[in-house]
Amino acid sequence: MRAHPDSPVSSRRSHIFTAVCFFFLAVFATSVLLLIIADILYIDKKAVVSVLTSSFIRDALWLSTWTSFTTTFISLLFAVPMGYALSRFRFPGRSLADSIVDLPIVFPPLVAGLTLLVFFSQTALGRWIQEDLGLEFVFQPKGIVLCQFVVTASFAIRFAKTAFDEVDRRFENVALTLGCTRWGSFWRISLPLARNGIIAGGILTWARAFGIFGPLMIFVGSFRGRTEVLSTTVFLEQSVGNLEVALAVALLMIFIAYIALLTIRLVVSSSMVKL
């Protein structure tokens, strides 16, 4: 391994430290790769053909894709103003609001699904939304987005807040003296400077939304062609003994997620170079 040109001169002891760091990195990366390879070795050609040609998997893939991207979009829509408010404003109950934002992260995902089901089927407000407003979520595709949003939005908000925290407030102050309104300084300065952190939050939100499973089974079920997403397909296939198909679907999910993460990371790093 060659040292980076701006690395400091290091002693033998430092090399040992570096080796220890790389050891853990190698163990982890190898373990993940071994698990994926084990899956690849297990599946057969028939399972792959079945996954690539069956219409219900195509439907599930499409549903997984559009719901996860919609969830990410809505999460970011909430995350940016909320992250900015938590980062910049001092208001009564700020600590409470800050903790509530983190609550869905520590929720067991199943509990989130159960809570949503109870809210929409057992409370007056929930029933009013479903029945009188006509916004049906339970066992509906809309419910997938709601479920994913409840479980994942906190990541986007937390990342957005941290990103705004890292933008020096003096930039905004100078922008204010240069003629900007508060909105102007946010739009022209804070948001562009916090962009990478917000995108990172978006990536994590999307990845989590794409793979979510437990709460969906409870809140929207798994109706083939209607509320079945890829993660529930994996569950359904393995529960009826189609382990090869289940693993092939899982590999498809891993492949899509990896390509998506890699693409976004490349876009972000190229925009960072431009800064």
Binding site: D168, R170, F171, N173, V174, A175, L176, T177, L178, G179, C180, T181, G184, R188, I189, P192, L193, L275
Partner: protein
């Protein structure tokens, strides 16, 4: 012109306490004080970046206390310049003009004008990441100047620069200020820097204004012990008036076992200072008048480049600043006995 009237602001335990200053049109005013004295906070109050607790702020006789920062007509260069890292030097300078919705021609003309004045034309296309401290400072100044502010506020504009660049940038800021006739407030904790640019200065300590005046006045006629020490005078003594001099406006004061003549009529205990550069040293005990003559021993000398600081032990422990020529003429070594003459007219009695 900018004026504050009993301006107060509180943040936690710290308070800016009824700060009143007036800076006339085209004046270069410096706000001095040790770190943590409230200088930056005071500038932020003037900019409107924090809401003042009480008091008034007038710019050209208009009360701006409740106006947003963007309409106050203030150009602000914060410490470390706060150049927008996502924009090039040119876009940084043009930022305010873009916000105002100026046409491309106007923006281009004004940016080039500012760049010419500050000699940064070659930096315009550069990213702010690669700029040196001095270059960043000039870009930040240009960004403020293109807005044609009524008042320019500079928060420690050269503190991060090396000595040579600091002098060069100070000279350039001063020249631009004179050229444009800009009312300027320059915050600093550095005396040399302030001497090189300011017409007048104020000294702030723990949120309270200690004294306002010309630099020479702050140096020679400090109002209190803090100002004296801040202006690097360590010769501060407290003595008991022992007699009024007949047929003279001087008073005789007993201090450290000796009687000193100090200017003016006083009673009781007084505090006075002696500027280090006003102490005359000689190795001839009979030189000078009989009054205010002390026998001292040289205990330490330090060369500060443009002067030599000597520490003297005697009835009063003194610190004196001598030119290199004067120090060489003394031919003094450590423990040498010397005669220090403290001329009455160079003794300043503190009013407090």
């Amino acid at each position: 012109m900018i004026r504050t009237d009993k301006l107060s602001f509180r943040i936690g335990e710290f308070q800016l306490d009824q700060v009143s200053i007036e800076v006339t049109r085209g004046e270069y005013f410096s706000l001095l004080g040790p770190p943590g004295s409230g200088k930056t906070l005071f500038l932020e109050c003037l900019c409107g970046l924090v809401k003042v607790l009480s008091g008034q702020i007038y710019i050209d006789e208009k009360d701006v206390k409740n106006l947003e920062p963007r309409v106050r007509g203030i150009g602000y260069v914060p410490q470390d310049y706060a150049l927008f890292p996502n924009l090039s030097a040119e876009k940084n300078i043009a930022f305010g003009l873009c916000v105002r919705g100026c046409s491309r021609e106007v923006i281009s003309r004004k940016v080039l004008q500012a760049a010419e004045i500050l000699d940064i034309g070659h930096l315009l296309r550069r990213s702010v990441y690669g700029l040196s401290g001095g270059e960043k400072q000039r870009v930040a100044l240009a960004r403020a100047l293109v807005m044609e502010p009524k008042v320019l506020l500079l928060d420690e504009p050269v503190c991060a620069l090396d000595e040579a660049t600091r002098q060069e940038v100070c000279a350039q800021i001063h020249s631009v200020q004179r050229q444009l006739g800009l009312t300027t407030i320059h915050v600093s904790h550095n005396l040399e820097e302030t001497f090189s640019v300011a017409d007048r200065a104020a000294i702030l300590y723990q949120g309270r204004l200690q004294q306002v005046g010309a630099m020479n006045e702050l140096l020679r006629r400090p109002q209190n012990e803090f100002v004296s020490r801040f202006m690097r005078c360590r010769n501060i003594f407290s003595g008991q008036v022992s007699a009024q001099e007949p047929n003279s406006s001087n008073t005789r004061v007993r201090v450290g076992g000796v009687d000193l003549l100090v200017p003016g009529k006083h009673r009781g205990r007084i505090k006075f200072i002696i500027r280090p550069e006003s102490i005359l040293l000689s190795n001839n005990p009979s030189s000078g008048s009989v009054d205010n003559k002390l026998q001292v021993k040289l205990i330490c000398s330090r060369d500060f480049g443009n002067y030599v600081q000597v520490e003297l032990k005697g009835p009063l422990d003194l610190v004196a600043h001598l030119s290199h020529a004067a120090f060489a003429e003394l031919k003094a070594k450590l423990q040498t006995d010397l005669t220090a003459v403290l001329q009455a007219e160079n003794i300043h009695v503190l009013p407090e």
